[in-house]
Symmetry: C2
Subunit: 609 residues, 2 copies
């Protein structure tokens, strides 16, 4: 396999974090007082070092040698995968965002997300252990009692145990109100209210493995009252901590019954788990022991905290597959000789990067990959604002903006990384279709990102229904204020004129479309082409972020810069213009559809298919 190209362009990260997202301002806040810009650089260098030395080599091997399950239901991962996860733990990367009081190091989410991205660029699946474990521990830290934090969160923060989120069941994927898993109260102990959990969970990433001795499952289940009655729908869902190994060292009643064999993303096992099927007998009888987190019936809102962060992380994973695919295609295009410029019949072949169609594909890749990265890091920055901004109103604004952006941050990178990786394969030609090059795997790996943590269709419903209509467009207007500020600043700059006009036009259309969606009384009609609206929003937001970055670059170009600095910034300006020219015009088409309330598809009788 080609091992060319780094996993990240550090110059780009430097630009995004320092120049564009003002990380130095963030680092001056009390929470981050132990960190310096130089310290952050060192952490990113450490992550890049681990990524390039330890993770790049397992990209392909973990694809070929999938996790396996033996006759006793024990799951094994590739030893190199287990070693890599342990290395991440030793490097302290599980502790990044946590409070010092629970063993954390209080880094900004912006830095944690960048680290995660650098790791995922090397191989997406294995760092997912980190993603899941951090999300799990954060949920326990936020909603659990002190004993639960000490027993179940801190070992994860230290990287001695890994975590999962157990939501889906075979019959309940996107529809969690239909879960069958049941919890029956079983007394109380220092860890809280104890329950016996019975049920089947599906699609559990990291659900079992031999990396760590213990695995902390966070399980959604319905608590039954003494008469066995449950609350219907999502309101009956509660959240339980269900460890693989109980505090007394005995095995909990959890069994892996199968592994799912995926088309990619194979560096982490994906399991079907049985809880409480009697395979083990903790405290002498069947039933998995779990402890309630918070109150009964609060499972879904609690889990949403984890899901929302997980959604940003999924966006980051998709972004970095696109990013790596871009770096690999760029490297290939610079080195592969083939053909000559139009009209030239003889002489030596040129590098294919000289061909206009290859340049077009590379530039599109750049706009998708770097555009997605700006979206995800902007969201991560908002997460920091939500938690550390000086005033309550700033914190609330950040929370509202982040809630609005989350469906886009999750789905835009997932969808457009696939388009971008398709181009990466195309640039490689026949070579890209072979397993001798990494791009075909990146393409397979990324295909999951539009599905897990809420499909793109689910994100579209979330955006229209919960994020735009529920607050009457308030968060949308806040976002629009930021877009207008960027456009205003860009309007006086010649090099940005076209892009600024295109972004402004897109947002005028989007504003009108939001008004139509808000005015629609019938929820089902408003949702009839929700996915087109999501597409339009994602493009409009990324277009704005491109313009906002171009503004920073254009200003810097007024200074004396060396060749490489000038090229870097000119490249960003050109990518911004390419996005404005080739991508932003799509917005009108999507919005026309979203606001037409067309029922050509929605009203199609089943028998006409």
């Amino acid at each position: 396999m080609s091992t060319a190209a780094a996993v990240i362009n550090r110059r780009d990260i430097e630009f995004l974090l320092r120049e564009w997202l003002s990380i130095d301002v963030l680092l001056k806040r009390p929470r981050f007082e132990n960190h310096t810009p130089e310290g952050i650089d060192a952490i990113l260098t450490l992550a890049q070092d681990i990524a390039e030395r330890e993770l790049v080599p397992i990209l392909r091997t973990s694809d070929i040698e999938e996790p396996s399950i033996d006759a006793e239901g024990r799951v094994k991962v590739l030893p190199a995968v287990a070693d890599a996860v342990r290395l991440l733990a030793e490097a302290g990367l599980f502790a990044s965002v946590f409070d010092e009081r629970v063993g954390g190091v209080q880094l900004p989410h912006l830095v944690h997300m960048t680290v995660l991205g650098i790791l995922m660029s090397a191989t997406i699946a294995t760092p997912s252990f980190l993603l899941l474990t951090v999300g799990n521990a954060r949920l326990i830290v936020t909603f659990g009692n002190p004993a639960q934090v000490a027993a179940f969160a801190e070992p994860q923060i230290g990287g001695q145990a890994l975590g999962t989120m157990c939501l889906s069941e075979s019959q309940a994927g996107s529809s969690l109100g239909d879960i069958h898993t049941r919890a029956v109260q079983d007394g109380e102990d220092p860890l809280g209210k104890r329950y016996r959990i019975t049920g089947h969970k599906m699609w559990i990433s990291g659900g079992d493995h031999d990396v760590t001795a213990n695995i902390i499952h966070l399980v959604l289940a319905k608590a039954a009252d003494p008469l066995g009655r449950i609350v219907r729908g999502t309101k009956g869902i509660s959240l339980f901590i269900v460890p693989k190994v109980l505090p007394d060292g005995t095995r909990n009643d959890i069994r892996t019954i199968a592994l799912n064999h995926k088309m990619g993303y194979r560096g982490i096992p994906n399991c079907a788990l049985n809880f409480g099927d009697g395979h083990h007998s903790p405290s002498g009888r069947a039933g998995a022991i779990g402890w309630l987190v918070g109150e009964e019936g609060q499972g879904l809102p609690q889990m949403f905290q984890m899901m929302n962060e997980a959604r940003i992380s999924v966006g980051m994973g998709a972004t970095m597959l696109a990013y790596r695919g871009y770096l690999l295609a760029l490297d290939y295009a610079r080195n592969r000789l083939q053909g000559r410029p139009t009209g030239v019949k003889s002489g030596a072949p040129v590098a294919i990067i000289e061909h206009p169609d290859v340049k077009r594909m590379l530039l599109s890749q750049k706009t998708y990959a770097e555009g997605a990265l700006s979206l995800v890091l902007y969201s991560a920055r908002l997460l920091d604002e939500q938690h550390t901004a000086p005033t309550a109103s700033e914190r609330q604004l950040a929370e509202e903006l982040l809630a609005l952006l989350t469906p886009m941050t999750k789905s835009w990178p997932a969808e457009w990384a696939q388009v971008s990786l398709d181009l990466a394969i195309q640039i490689h030609g026949g070579a890209g279709y072979t397993r001798d090059f990494a791009v075909e795997q990146l393409y397979r790996d990324n295909r999951l990102n539009s599905i897990h943590e809420g499909t793109t269709g689910i994100q579209a419903i979330d955006l229209v229904s919960r994020k735009v209509r529920r607050d009457g467009g308030q968060a949308f207007r806040q976002l629009q204020t930021r877009v207008r500020a960027t456009c205003f600043k860009a309007s006086s700059r010649v090099a940005l004129k076209r892009s600024q006009t295109a972004v402004e036009e897109a947002w005028v259309l989007l504003d009108a479309a939001v008004a139509v969606l808000l005015a629609e009384a019938d929820e089902a009609r408003a949702l009839s082409n929700a996915s087109a609206f999501l597409n339009a929003c994602g493009h409009a937001v990324v277009g704005w972020l491109w313009l906002d970055q171009a503004l920073v670059c254009d200003r810097a170009l007024e200074n004396r810069l060396n060749e490489s600095e000038r090229s870097f910034r000119d490249g960003k300006l050109r990518a911004c213009r390419h996005f404005a020219e080739t991508e932003l015009p799509r917005i009108k088409l999507w919005l026309d559809l979203a606001t037409s309330m067309s029922d050509v598809a929605a009203a199609m009788p089943v028998e006409q298919f």
Copy 2:
């Protein structure tokens, strides 16, 4: 793996061949006088039977157990693959389109292509042996001498030997003028001018295997004169027949040095071959023996006949992957229960086909799959016209239209099948990402179709440069005449009004864009956004074909029809309207770009990426 769903909707085929493409008119021509509509039905039933009984089972097994090569360079395929190919030969399917004088059965290309499609719907790779062999034999029949036809074409027509096309080399993929393979004259014998061939060929599908004893390679090489001089560029290319086993039963000097490991399409080996490296010594010395086809320097124009037919077949393969993916997603969506309609909180879950977003995805799949099928079959019908239309002018018109449509027939199905299969996976959710369901494999299999037989970028250059600009837009105007005729007929029908308007508008834009491209003196500028022009043309053509089919359906709906017939036709009308509403608007965007001559991408300095 899910084995649900047939490989084809025969009602659809019946509609396309009989009602839409008037196969009965074709069958009345002298060449096809031995065939009846009932006979054609029987052939299609035979193909479907082979596809569903013999080919469906090897879809997954041939993906898992790739072809292998042993230490002696012998290539083995899965025994079931070899058996299936032999079954196709026994069924006479290699003989379909050939003249009776060479052992053929004189079926229309339209029927042959439909048969190929039905087989490819079950599994694309294995029927590619058929595709390649028929193309190879047709080339020898067309350009070879009688002795070559008897020795090398007839065994392929009988299915006793299989054929390949050996064009690419590691350093010369899309740029055939740069091939290094050399041919040196070596006397003459009853089979023609004999040469010794030396060189390396890459990406050779079916390049070696254990299905048949002999393999007939058609090899592009440059003939050197006695002083070793060759003609530069593509004009120096000649075509040679180079059999694996020579007529005297000895091994020719051909060696398989490696197999390519692809991300899909694994039911046929893809080889790197050495010719004349001295591994064998035919007639006592190194050098592969080959016989010249036609004249020296005619290799590329001759090969183009095979490539053009192969391009239609590639379009058919992509189409059928999309088609099967649609049938599988439809079946899954009808049976998978999940969620409830918007606003409904309780009661039993519904089949996911009831959800608007799933309907949208299924309807898009239908428009892509059935739209692609209409394009490919329309092209196959033109191939029959080219060869059998009553007058010379009709035959020439068909040839010109087919030449114009070929880049679209090759690339439109390839590109949009991938979009369609992406939706098929999405409808399956997490299940679609596992290898327990076929859609992930179809998605991997199809990814090759935008690459082989000329990448989409190459097709775009072919369309703009050779097919539109070279004849001053003449063929385009002929096509436009047909489009106008359809629009005129549709204009009086209420149910088609919107679609007709959308198609008409699209063609007005296309007409203007063609004028811009024709007026551009600078070839490089005209080509600067060729791929956007190809996209636009493909959509405009498929939109027209949808309208043309909808016209037939709408007329039929005036008659008394049973429920299922009515649904079939209403479904086509709805698909036409969905295509007009969601797909045709894209054309303006592509044409704006294609005619802007924008050089944002093309002029990007390499160091700015």
